[in-house]
């Protein structure tokens, strides 16, 4: 109910105004490397500037991954522990193709238009298309299993499935392809896409990816299909009665979320030029889950906060609490689950009216004080 109310409010406002916060965020992020460059004086591809670009690249990619998870859990009401399968699947598809297929292809069939060699572009397009398809397939796999199972039962199944995938990807039998335990390292990339040589490009690509993904997901959530998905979360039987097949809509959410997760995984494997089994493990899903919970489920903007905070925590908790910082983090997480279940954004929205009124009262208070100090006593 609350969601629908918020949505109509957004529709009434102009688009620019309703997304004001996000646009400011994007502008700041766009300017960030250049501003830091000016302040510190180090080059764009070195020192502090480079380091922080790297941190933000991880942040952007994890944000998209967490947002796609929010589609599942927050909007679809589906608790899946297999979302990392899409992330890792995307990463491995990208890594495997780039490492084992692309080099031969580039050598044997150069594609040249005029004077420019576009082989690399074609290869990247094909590889990303493959990532796209694999993500759809993984999404479909989980959607199919969700036909007969719901709720906790389904959560357990996804856990088992993703564990199985994780075990397979790190098994020694596939060592020559996947690199087993150590993962797939040294994924060859063209110079312009190489994060060590050209970090700014990767930075801008990830930022663009975040912006595009955010608006596509927002569009999806506000579309009629998105509304049915949300209604399904609230009451599946009722939706079935009025003629919507919940399975269809669940499948749509799964595939849609899986595509973004897969692309995020592929980008991540560009960023660290490798694909590791951890990317496919339940730990990765749980990380996304933590981000969504901290930010607020079913808000889409929440995961940005969640990803940012968990990034910061990973940066600073170590220095604050030493090697056992996850202990503090775990306790914090339990606290959030128990007492702030709607996360930052959700809690803010619940109390938004109170906050605004409080702010107004505060302004009134001060303006009055300036006019006539005596009135303050009366009102106070």
């Amino acid at each position: 109910m609350a969601n629908i109310a918020i949505k109509t409010k957004i529709n009434q406002k102009s688009w620019l105004k309703s997304e004001r916060g996000f646009i400011i965020f994007v502008v700041i992020m766009l300017a960030f490397p250049f501003v830091l460059n000016l302040i510190t004086g180090t080059g764009l591809n070195e020192g502090v500037t480079k380091f922080w670009q790297g941190q933000l690249i991880i942040f952007f990619i994890m944000t998209v991954f967490a947002m796609s998870y929010d589609l599942l859990i927050g909007y679809g009401g589906i608790l899946s522990f297999g979302h990392a399968a899409s992330f890792g699947g995307g990463a491995y598809t990208f890594g495997l193709l780039m490492k084992h297929w692309a080099p031969n292809f580039i050598k044997n069939t150069p594609i040249v238009i005029g004077n420019t060699d576009i082989t690399m572009i074609v290869v990247l397009l094909i590889v990303f298309l493959a990532v796209f398809l694999v993500s759809i397939l993984i999404g479909l796999m989980f959607a199919v299993t969700s036909i007969r199972l719901k709720g906790t039962y389904f959560a357990m199944l996804t856990l088992a499935l993703s564990t199985a995938l994780y075990i397979i990807i790190k098994s020694t039998d596939l060592h020559q392809w996947t690199g087993a335990d150590e993962g797939l390292h040294g994924v060859p990339l063209p110079v312009w896409l190489n994060p060590t040589q050209n970090r700014l490009t990767v930075y801008l690509i990830s930022l663009a990816f975040l912006v595009i993904s955010y608006f596509l997901m927002k569009r999806f959530v506000n579309s009629p299909t998105g509304h049915v998905v949300i209604a399904n979360r609230e009451n599946e039987d009722r939706m079935r009665m009025i003629g919507y097949n919940p399975v269809t809509f669940r499948t749509i959410v799964f595939v849609f979320a899986s595509i973004f997760a897969g692309l995020a995984g592929a980008l991540y494997s560009i960023w660290n030029m490798s694909a590791t089994p951890t990317m496919m493990s339940v730990v990765t899903t749980v990380n996304a889950l933590i981000m969504v919970i901290i930010g607020g489920m079913g808000t889409l903007i929440g995961p940005i906060f969640g990803a940012g905070i968990s990034q910061v925590i990973q940066q600073f908790f170590y220095t604050w609490f030493g090697a056992r910082w996850p202990l503090v983090f775990g306790l914090l997480f339990i606290f959030i689950v128990m007492f702030v279940p709607y996360g930052i954004v959700g809690t803010y929205r619940m109390h938004a009216v109170n906050f605004q009124q409080g702010r107004k009262r505060l302004f009134k208070h001060f303006s009055r004080q300036e006019e006539s100090p005596r009135e303050k006593e009366v009102s106070g």
């Binding site: 199972l149 906790t152 357990m156 088992a160 199985a164 075990i167 098994s171 749980v286």
Partner: protein
């Protein structure tokens, strides 16, 4: 009638297929490999059952999926290993834990009086808050300077100690009693404050009869006595325990581990799970966080290392026994069964699994508690409406489930490396077992665990034979689960939704 026929046909089909598979495997693998694989399968199955039994009961009764179950299994192994190797840690923290428990348990005595106070609504809100803050302060003061890490290190030190007469001789002495006594006293005070706060002073709508006060005082009184005893035996008990016969010590460490699991489970249910029953998804998230915390806590106390618990003497002597009698006399590490060498400790784990299954069966079919659980699996609301306090049954079942998991942990400790992630694989397999057997069915958990264990063992056997890695066998258990789910979505013994 038709449905009945179909069911019979189905059962016959399943039995025939199962027999076919077994005979096929026997012919393929030959007797030796077959028997030894079956034994390792049953061993795994027993451990799976100990994990899955708790999971399935907890899920069936209260729809709670405990993702911290594997961590509790691991914690059981650590506690048992500590007690067996060097109980200084356990005896060192027991006074504090018992003192806290005593304080909190006095709620049953406090509540009837406190509830009847005449307080303004403002005070009703204010008093508990003050009590909680005071309790926090008092407890912080109580544990200030208490070197828990040194205490936890004792087991690690003991492993390198070679002194036979007094294994604790080289360990730095603990805090003397003259300084120590204030800690349990303060902690008990903290517990009392918490009891006071949570008994809702002045809230007359609370149901708290004064009639059975005699009964209510029993538990805190026993705890009080135990606390006092534990304070005085803190330093002497570890030595006397270590001088005991190894087998008895192992038995004791099993008991300690199980008791710990029971209390720990009850505390977790009351503090963390009870407030979340209205939001099932958040219970899953909370248990996820909990498993994280437990794992980190263990690494905090005992460093992120892998330990190997020594086998108790009954299973320790190198050499093969020809018969069970010889094994029991000499304590051989392996035994000859049908021409196959089987580690004796495996037999112990198998026996443990079967005994626990028998006990759970007895509990579920013969006792009133079992009746309540079976009824509650179907409709907890109706059970409550009949005058049974379902919430306390929930607590009890959760505690029992965790106790079973910790029992599995200590059972596995002499046989698996004791390390912070040891429970995870068992939790996953336990979840698969529960899905195969059907949520809420302990029989299903047993049958599912045995099927899974044997399948896993044969998977390992084939993987070895086809020179694949054992990971493939581990992953292939998921296939069994998928097959069961596609043919019987509610599991082999599950209730129909």
């Amino acid at each position: 009638m038709n449905r009945k026929n179909k069911k019979i046909l189905q059962t016959i089909l399943i039995v025939v297929v199962a027999l076919g598979i077994i005979v096929g495997l026997y012919l393929y693998a030959g007797q030796r490999a077959f028997v030894s694989t079956i034994f390792s399968g049953l061993t795994l199955g027993s451990l799976f059952f100990l994990v899955a039994a708790g999971l399935t009961l907890i899920f069936g009764l209260m729809d709670v999926l405990n993702f911290a179950h594997g961590s509790m299994f691991m914690l059981g192994a650590y506690i048992g290993w500590q007690f067996y190797t060097n109980p200084t840690f356990i005896f060192g923290i027991a006074p504090l834990a018992l003192a806290f428990g005593t304080g909190v348990m006095f709620i049953s005595v406090l509540k009837p009086y406190v509830v009847a106070w005449n307080l303004s609504p403002r005070m009703q809100k204010l008093l508990p808050t003050i009590a909680y803050i005071l309790a926090a302060v008092v407890i912080v003061f109580a544990v200030l300077g208490f070197d828990i890490l040194a205490l936890a290190d004792t087991a690690m030190v003991a492993m390198t100690t070679t002194t036979v007469g007094n294994p604790l001789a080289e360990i730095s002495p603990q805090e003397p009693l003259e300084e120590f006594w204030i800690r349990p006293v303060l902690i008990m005070l903290g517990g009392l404050l918490i009891a006071f706060g949570s008994s809702k002073p002045g809230d007359k709508t609370q149901y708290a009869p004064k009639e059975n006060l005699g009964k209510a005082i029993l538990v805190p009184a026993i705890l009080l006595v135990l606390t006092v005893v534990s304070v005085f035996i803190r330093e002497s008990a570890p030595v006397s325990v270590l001088l005991m016969n190894g087998n008895i010590r192992f038995l004791l460490s099993i008991l300690v581990s199980v008791a710990f699991g029971f209390v720990f489970g009850a505390v977790i249910e009351i503090i963390l799970i009870r407030p979340l029953y209205a939001r099932p998804t958040f219970i899953i998230l909370m248990t996820l966080g909990l498993s994280y915390v437990i794992r980190e806590l263990v690494q905090f106390l005992w460093d992120p290392l892998t330990y190997q618990m020594a086998r108790p003497p009954l299973f320790a002597m190198p050499g093969k026994a020809a018969s069970i009698g010889e094994w029991l006399r000499n304590g051989n590490s392996t035994i000859d069964i049908l021409g196959v060498t089987v580690p004796t400790y495996r037999l112990f784990i198998i026996a443990l699994g079967i005994i626990m299954f028998a006990l759970v069966t007895l509990l579920m079919t013969k006792t009133r508690l079992g009746m309540i659980i079976r009824a509650g699996v179907q409709d907890p609301e109706m059970v409550e409406a009949m005058g049974i306090n379902v919430k306390s049954v929930f607590t009890l079942v959760f505690a029992l489930g965790v106790a079973l998991a910790t029992l599995g942990g200590i059972g596995a400790a002499p046989f698996l490396p004791v390390q912070p992630l040891m429970g995870d694989a068992y939790q996953t397999q336990g979840l698969i077992t529960v899905v195969i057997g059907g949520m809420g069915s302990y029989v299903g958990a047993f049958v599912g665990a045995m099927i899974l264990g044997i399948a896993r063992a044969f998977g390992d056997y084939f993987a070895l034979k086809l020179s694949l890695s054992p990971a493939i066998a581990e992953a292939s258990t998921v296939i069994i689960m998928v097959i069961v789910l596609l043919t019987k979505p509610q599991g082999l013994f599950g209730k129909k939704e």
